[in-house]
């Protein structure tokens, strides 16, 4: 599969290790999922820290899916896939955080409803 031009996203480079890769990914993903469902319901974590924990676990689980299921790696033959992914993440972050920032700012500067 490592012919000219690198490797396609989703391709397993070594078939013999294929099942093991998917099993490791599944195990880690289950752990992350259970951890975030647990974090949402526990009283053990400091309140405001819970949403941070959920976000961190979600990002970690997305990384696990990318590596073990979509086989996006940092190998030299995978550069094109990683670059495209990095650009996609950049735009997604701009859209999400840009919107939140602008809307919070507008909200802050708006007259209260009673004075309108």
């Amino acid at each position: 599969m490592t012919t000219a031009g690198g490797v396609s996203p989703g391709d397993v480079t070594s078939r013999r290790r294929g099942v093991r890769t998917y099993l490791i990914g599944l195990g880690l993903a289950i752990l992350m999922t259970i951890a975030s469902f647990w974090a949402a319901q526990t009283h053990l974590i400091y309140g405001p820290g819970i949403s941070v924990a959920i976000v961190v676990l979600a990002i970690a689980q997305m990384g696990i899916h990318l590596v073990f299921f979509l086989h996006i790696t940092t190998a030299p033959d995978n550069t094109n896939n990683v670059l495209a992914l990095a650009f996609g993440i950049l735009i997604a972050c701009l859209v999400i955080f840009g919107s939140l920032w602008i809307m919070a700012n507008l909200n802050h500067n708006m007259l209260p409803m009673e004075q309108m």
Binding site: A4, G5, R15, G18, M62, D77, A84
Partner: protein, 208 residues
């Protein structure tokens, strides 16, 4: 000598850009990867909308009163298992094993359909309780975001059915394997989007 051979090979290998034109499989997979990333950017706009309108409940029920975490946990399990079955199908396709391809694809489809049924059941119960998409900005953005993911799953299930038929009728032809590569990427990407949905919409909305 033998142990040192791979590293020498690595050093002398030409850069990927000098390899010449890529194989068709790589071009197809890369093109579909670009499509998936643009799809994810579209979802990020829906996520931004939801995050902004999250609190605009118009005096109606908010996330904490509406969502049932147990149902979401079952949905998550279905989709994760479906993604895993899709991975097993990828391996079976690479081995050109018809029986295992069909079995794993069937499992992928059944688990995906179970997810979709649970989601529709949840929507129906929400509408029944008076929390339809027209009630508040929060609910409109909720149905848009989660419904868009559900629509993708529906399209994916139809695609899955045609893939099973093509493998059965035409065998493991090169172009059909390329189509399957695209399908598997699509299915795994939908699971990634679901991670963001269950974390940010459901868990963050219902946390204590």
């Amino acid at each position: 000598m033998n142990a040192a051979a791979p590293s020498i090979e690595m050093e002398e290998r030409e850069p990927t850009s000098a390899d010449g034109p890529a194989s068709r499989r790589i071009v197809v997979g890369y093109g579909f990867w670009i499509f998936l990333l643009s799809d994810i950017i579209m979802f990020s706009a829906f996520f931004a909308t939801y995050a902004v309108l999250n609190t605009a409940t118009n005096g109606g029920p908010g996330p904490a009163q509406l969502f049932d975490t147990t149902n979401v946990a079952i949905e998550t399990a279905c989709l994760l298992a479906s993604s895993f079955a899709c991975g097993m199908a990828s391996l079976a396709v690479a081995e050109r094993n018809q029986t295992w391809t069909q079995i794993s694809l069937l499992a992928t489809g059944i688990l995906g359909a179970a997810f979709l049924a649970l989601e529709l059941k949840e929507f129906a119960s929400l509408v029944e309780r008076g929390a339809g998409p027209t009630h508040s900005a929060f609910l409109s953005s909720f149905y848009t975001l989660v419904g868009c993911h559900g629509a993708h799953i529906t399209a994916g299930l139809l695609w899955l059915g045609t893939m099973m038929a093509q493998f059965y009728a035409k065998g493991f032809r090169e172009n059909i394997q390329h189509r399957y590569l695209c399908f598997s990427l699509f299915w795994h990407a939908l699971d990634i989007i679901w991670i963001a949905i269950f974390s940010l919409v459901y868990l963050n909305g219902t946390r204590i």
